[in-house]
């Protein structure tokens, strides 16, 4: 029995820890009934702060969806003009609230803000965009704007005021306590507290004269403790190199900040330290050069050439255009050449018959019969679209592909063979050239009608 009671209690604890606590909201009057989404924005506290004081902007998104998923929604935070915006935090386990009898998952976003100037600052509304799904249309919701009254810090501020506003703690360590000349010491300074530590410069170190300082590392971290406070922790690490052997007393570090709760400037003092610096291995007591030696290492002046007064000028803009223009012209040459060639071919082809006939008219007795052959062949090449320089290849093969009547090729070849034969015939047996010319004219006119037009 006892075993089952214990088991039941254990299971009850397990179930209880897994459940979200459903709270009744006090904001029912501000919440329209029946809505699936609602956006509420406010700042923690009474909304009256000092310049630099930490302000927590809270954005609460009420989602009626049981899963409370963020996949269907997109929240856009405002620009926070007038504020330095720091980290934004989203708690992992969003709470559940019941408003007007309806259960909502409350998605919260906390943004740390630090006002940069005094006056009434307005934080613009945040936006919630709901994506379209099978069950609902897309929609947009806006929160109300939030007003923050920012008071200026009391003046006059102490001379060594760091700019920090909040409540802080200082811890400082310096180790080792004993070093040899030339070896470094490590100084670690940790500032912790709630406030604008993120923006505050590193406190100035009150070091002995002529000690060299090298900033080794610095880090900043934001923690949240059980009370829900946002605590900053900044750690600085320095390497210090003492210039001389001896015992050195470190003056305590002073960190002055403004506490908005007490409304007073507070000066925190760090620890005092004493460091023993032993002489170096070879008995060296100081790392510094004597002043006489410093003059030796003073840089020498450079020789001055007063003639080099002119400065090289940049190439003018139009000079850059010359080469592209030339390339353009060069590129257009083949295009123009091709265009002119095609025009010439077309012209020669269109006027081939006219030119051949006019050439035949000029043939007279006594001329070589070969002229007729040349005129006919020239007519053929022109009609086929070949320039004289391109007249290569088998003319008869080309003609056979370009005439509609295949017998024309035979007639042409026969006539040309006849002309060739007449050339070598004895003179008395040769016909008058005019006869051949007339036959050539008839043949050309007939052939001109047979070309296949493309």
């Amino acid at each position: 029995m006892r075993f089952w009671l214990i088991t039941l209690c254990f299971v009850g604890v397990l179930i209880g820890s897994g459940m979200r606590v459903a709270a009744q909201s006090d904001d029912a009057s501000l919440f329209p009934a029946g809505t699936d989404y609602y956006l509420q924005a406010f700042v923690e506290g009474d909304g009256v702060v000092y310049v630099g004081e930490q302000v927590v902007y809270v954005l609460r998104t009420y989602v009626r969806d049981r899963t409370g998923a963020r996949s269907n929604i997109f929240e856009t935070l405002p620009d926070f003009d007038g504020f330095w915006r720091s980290t934004a935090l989203e708690p992992r386990n969003p709470p559940v609230e019941v408003v007007n009898g309806v259960q909502y998952v409350v998605l919260e976003t906390y943004v740390l803000l630090y006002p940069l100037q005094s006056g009434t600052l307005m934080i613009a509304p945040s936006r919630l965009e709901v994506f379209e799904t099978l069950f609902r249309d897309a929609a947009e919701f806006y929160s109300d704007p939030v007003t923050v009254e920012v008071q200026p810090l009391p003046s006059p501020a102490p001379q060594n005021f760091s700019g920090a506003v909040g409540q802080f703690r200082v811890e400082m360590t310096l180790e080792p306590a004993e070093v040899a000349l030339g070896e470094p010491l490590t100084l670690r300074l940790t500032l912790t507290g709630e406030g604008n530590l993120e923006q505050v410069p590193a406190p100035s170190l009150r070091l002995p004269e002529r000690w060299r300082v090298f900033e080794n590392d610095s880090s900043a971290r934001l923690d949240s403790n059980i009370a829900g406070l946002m605590l900053w922790s900044r750690q600085y690490e320095y390497l210090l190199v003492p210039p001389n052997a001896g015992t050195v007393q470190f003056a305590p570090l002073v960190f002055v900040y403004f506490d908005p709760f007490t409304e007073e400037y507070v000066a925190l003092e760090g620890s005092e330290f004493t460091v023993n610096v032993f002489p170096g291995n070879d008995g060296l007591l100081s790392l510094e050069r004597p002043s006489q030696q410093q003059a030796v290492f003073a840089p020498e002046l450079l020789a001055v050439d007063l003639s080099a007064t002119r400065r090289v000028a940049v190439p003018s803009w139009w000079m850059w255009m010359v080469m592209p223009l030339l390339v353009l012209i060069a590129g257009s040459v083949p295009v123009i050449r091709s265009f002119l060639r095609s025009r010439l071919i077309a012209y020669r082809s269109a006027n081939a018959l006219k030119r051949a006939l006019s050439q035949l008219e000029t043939v007279q007795d006594g001329d070589d019969y070969a002229v007729i052959e040349q005129i006919i062949l020239g007519y053929c090449w022109d009609s086929l679209g070949y320039l004289p320089a391109d007249c290569t290849g088998d003319l008869w093969q080309i003609i056979s592909e370009k005439v509609s009547d295949a017998s024309m090729l035979d007639r042409l070849q026969t006539f040309l063979r006849h002309v060739e034969a007449v050339r070598y015939a004895p003179k008395p047996m040769r016909p008058q050239i005019a006869v051949l010319v007339n036959r050539a004219v008839d043949l050309l006119k007939l052939l001109d009608k047979q070309w296949i037009k493309v």
């Binding site: 630099g52 410069p201 840089p299 002119r310 090289v312 080469m323 390339v327």
Partner: protein
């Protein structure tokens, strides 16, 4: 007879000597400045070099010597500004680079590198060649590439043999043009500046009423992004930004 000759000679000397003196004046000032530096009178040396720079603003050695004089006086900020100006005019002068490195090692703020890739590109080019000289180099490459392109267009027989070369040349030219444009943009829109005050507080906005962010010491370097009234928005090599009073910095 002697009297007119004497009068003539005197008149001639009176008219010529000022001209001669004027011609030798810059050399004289240079010598005076060098002497002042040698005896440790840095203030006089600075004044004399500034007088020379006012009339001859393109001589790198004058800026370098002015920077050296400021260094002797202990003003790291103004020393660095003038040495950087000298390097801008003559990037290949090793002595200037050595002096700049020396000052950077002595200043309080430890800074290395540049804030953005554009600045890195511009700085890399600026360490070797001035922007104006580089523009001529790019122009020469651009013209050569255009000429090769023209040859390939006009003589088809060269196409196969020059095609690869054209592509490589084209890539190099385009890259060079990009680098040149970057250098010119950075020098115009993101000029380098140096802190010339002993200590300056960097604010979160252009005014004393904004929050102080961090301190910078003399000879700290930055680039100016914009200006508003008496304040300038700057970016440090480590990427931090802020606003500084313009009277506390000097543009290179």
């Amino acid at each position: 007879m002697k009297r007119p000759a004497t009068i003539f000679l005197a008149a001639f000397l009176i008219s010529v000597l000022p001209v001669l003196g004027q011609q030798n004046e810059p050399e004289t000032i240079v010598q005076q400045a060098a002497y002042a530096y040698a005896i440790g009178d840095y203030e006089s040396a600075i004044a004399l070099y500034e007088q020379l720079i006012a009339t001859m603003p393109n001589i790198p050695s004058l800026y370098a010597n002015l920077g050296i004089a400021y260094y002797g006086e202990g003003d790291l900020g103004l020393a660095l500004v003038n040495l950087l100006r000298a390097r801008q005019l003559s990037p290949r002068m090793q002595a200037i680079s050595t002096l700049i490195a020396q000052i950077r090692s002595e200043r309080v703020d430890f800074q290395i590198g540049e804030a953005s890739y554009l600045d890195i590109v511009a700085e890399s080019v600026g360490n070797v060649i001035t922007v104006n000289e580089f523009s001529w180099v790019v122009f020469a490459g651009w013209s050569m590439w255009g000429g090769a392109l023209m040859m390939v267009i006009l003589w088809a027989g060269l196409r196969r043999s020059l095609r690869g070369l054209l592509v490589i040349m084209g890539g190099i030219v385009l890259l060079s043009v990009g680098v040149l444009v970057t250098s010119m943009y950075v020098s115009e829109e993101r000029p380098r500046a140096v802190v010339v005050a002993d200590v300056v507080m960097v604010m979160s906005g252009p005014g004393e009423s904004y929050l102080p962010l961090y301190r910078l010491f003399s000879a700290a370097e930055m680039r100016v992004l914009s200006e508003e009234g008496e304040w300038a928005r700057v970016v440090l090599p480590d990427g931090r930004q802020g606003w500084i009073e313009q009277s506390m910095i000097a543009l290179v």
